[in-house]
Symmetry: C2
């Protein structure tokens, strides 16, 4: 959303070097809104505006700019200033951003940031994409087990301004092993008993993720245990970092988009639609289109077996797309319902019999309903009341079969330990198509032989 | 996950009235894990175990039990004890739970909870489902503008144990109008200057939602502004409640599931697959299957126009399902990519020309690739090298058309202010099917007339 109303005023303030006005502009609004108002400015103007506020606010507003704009600013502004900005940025965000910046600029900048930050950036960049390590931040409130609630609060006051979040304070031993957690809420509510050791009030059984875990695990654990923040540990249970609520929400959204892409037979994109390089997009789509196309070729060979029958009874061809799409649509409905239910934990593998029963009953009712309409259409296009029975019988069978296959195939994938979303709707539809053609032809031959 | 290993031990402890052991069991683990270990117990046993810990822990563990088990406990345990439990539960969770409980039991319980809670429950129940009002909790940390940081901290210490979260403290005037917000982090980091009025350090520009807003708005704002908690206000900007991180994540997941259902032409379910009443499920699926079926009937009428041509050139029928599914699969890929990109804000309407260009180019390349394979198959099944050209030409046109329509139809829906996800994959496929058949027949007649 570009807010063109503000742009002339902003540019005027810049031209007039209106320090007071620009300072006010940077602090009056939520940093996310300030960033939106600045969308129409170019990188140089953006950076000039941000000079009129303190380092903390500057980083906050900068974090809400469009990624493209952030990259432009980093690549064009004075290196020393940018190094300071990077120093102040949340540890996880700056790593993600530097991935997008020209490597030559990155190495110039890395020479300018303090050694500690440089090491941190290098370590975080070493974790593979979409793992907990790549999503976490290393800025975490830590205290030893032995200190009191009062001391912990004082320590927190000291650390707070440098940290992104202090909702939880983690208790570690001197080798950084994670021992427990105290929420800021518990700490605050115990301030009356400030001599109590934090070890006495901490929770010892923590939900954590391993640094190498896939981000899907994060989304799952956070949703199951209602966490705002999840700690990240190594294989020896040493605290490496935390994943905060905003990144959790991003992960949940990314995983949802990934599932939606899989469901429609697109290999999930790691970046936005317009940012994804053309070749990657073509590959991620072409791969599945090719698989589905080869599958669909089987329909041609299946039909070839019946070529002479179709020539003799040509009206059957009219209903071929209808029959196929009825099965495909029923199948994708079932597949999506079961896949999404498996993802959020609404159904489990042990429910398989309840699912099969439900889908068969559903296929029977909805299939019968569509069969009636199909019979009317068949009578309209081909008047023979007995021969027209081919259509409703096939529709009923195909809808029931589609729903059954659509539900069972993801369950089988899940049972085999594969992602059920791989059993995408088009793949289910492809299988149902082939089965549908065979059913159609067999029903036709049986009815017409009898009729 | 039922943990059968623990169950015999738990039952033994219950039989032996092992207060110490059961107390330890309730406190040693994360409440979510404790609840998982108890999954195999019946409602009476569950409630008996929970008697061995304090009210706070009891509520926490209870909140992680399966909803069905929660309802059983509420309906069967002693009313007075349950009224106390309800009194202690988070204001939003208890309202959701009571919706599932037998109304006769609810009215008995309502007579037993304190008047203040009763009013709160009645008010929260009055908000329509899936609005901010229905998702929020009324338990929120509030202080007046005039008090100092030190006083605010003391007030927070007093309120903390009764609140679900104190990540943000809201500043309100004496008519409850929302004036600003201070994060617990800011408060803690300013403890050194405890005389400062909170009005001096609060953020005045808040991101909030209206109590009547759809929950989709919550998910969108939270993701855009990286919030852990979002305040809910009425039309006069009075603070009514807050929506906390755990509910936000639930909302994000619910919205993602809703979109996935829409994409596969299922009217979104409001409850889990197995909990949804059969009639509702049949309606939510049948509605769209019916619409798609009527659409697919048009393919039969379209084909009827060409019945005599198909009789004369019967090998064309073999490739009918292949041609149709190529268009449908390409179309659903594009539709899903554009719909998910619109949802997360990766593309906007102003990008329409870039999208169209990308999809046309994609259709040209992937379509050509599939066309080559199609030509080989056509040569295999129908040896005539010129006549077989019908297949690759049609595939190229249908894939390009499918991608174009799949991308443009959701954009048009979005432009009209409708949910682009209504342009579901099966709907796109249906439209592409009809177009595909017409293209196929026209290409065939043109090539074969020339050939």
């Amino acid at each position: 959303m570009i807010n063109p109303l503000y742009l002339p005023e902003l540019r005027e303030m810049l031209a007039e070097q209106d320090t007071a006005g620009l300072g006010e502009f940077c602090t009056a609004l939520h940093p996310g809104r300030t960033a939106e108002f600045m969308e129409g400015l170019d990188a140089a103007e953006t950076w000039a505006v941000l000079q009129h506020t303190d380092a903390e606010k500057r980083v906050e507003i900068f974090g809400f700019l469009e990624p493209e704009k952030q990259v432009q600013v980093i690549e064009t502004a004075e290196r020393g200033q940018i190094a300071e900005l990077i120093d102040e940025m949340p540890a996880d965000d700056r790593v993600d951003l530097l991935e997008l910046v020209d490597p030559a600029v990155v190495s110039e900048l890395m020479a300018l940031v303090p050694q500690e930050d440089r090491r941190d950036i290098i370590r975080l960049r070493s974790y593979p994409e979409q793992t907990a390590g790549a999503v976490m931040t290393t800025e975490v409130a830590k205290v030893p087990e032995t200190i009191s609630v009062g001391e912990a609060m004082a320590e927190l006051t000291r650390q707070a301004s440098a940290l992104e979040t202090i909702y939880y304070v983690y208790i570690v031993d001197d080798q950084q092993h994670l021992r427990g957690v105290v929420s800021c809420r518990d700490l605050v509510s115990k301030l009356g008993e400030s001599q109590t050791p934090v070890g006495d009030i901490m929770e010892r059984d923590l939900v954590s993720v391993d640094v190498a875990d896939d981000q899907e695990m994060i989304a799952e654990k956070v949703a199951r245990y209602d966490l705002a923040v999840i700690p990240v540990v190594d294989h020896e249970y040493r605290l490496l970092g935390i994943i905060t609520h905003d990144d959790v929400i991003d992960v949940v959204r990314e995983e949802a988009t990934e599932d939606a892409h899989r469901l429609s037979a697109v290999e999930p994109l790691k970046t936005g639609y317009l940012e994804t390089p053309w070749v990657t997009l073509a590959w991620n789509r072409g791969l599945w289109l090719f698989v589905l196309f080869i599958g669909a070729l089987l329909t041609a060979f299946a039909l070839q077996r019946y070529e002479s029958d179709l020539e003799a009874i040509s009206w059957l061809v009219l209903f071929l797309p209808l029959v196929i799409s009825s099965g495909g649509n029923s199948g994708s409905q079932s597949a999506t319902l079961i896949i999404t239910a498996l993802t959020v934990g609404d159904v489990r593998l042990v429910d398989w019999w309840r699912i099969v029963r439900r889908e068969l009953l559903m296929g029977l009712s909805l299939g019968s309903f569509l069969a009636v309409i199909g019979y009317l259409a068949a009578m309209l296009l081909h008047g023979h009341p007995v021969e027209a029975l081919v259509i409703p019988i096939t529709i009923l069978l195909v809808v029931m079969g589609g729903m059954l296959l659509g539900a069972v195939l993801p369950l089988i994938f899940s049972r085999l330990g594969w992602d059920p979303a791989l059993m995408s709707n088009p793949l289910v539809a492809m299988i149902v198509d082939i089965v549908g053609i065979l059913v159609y032809m067999q029903v036709a031959l049986a009815v017409l032989a009898g009729g």
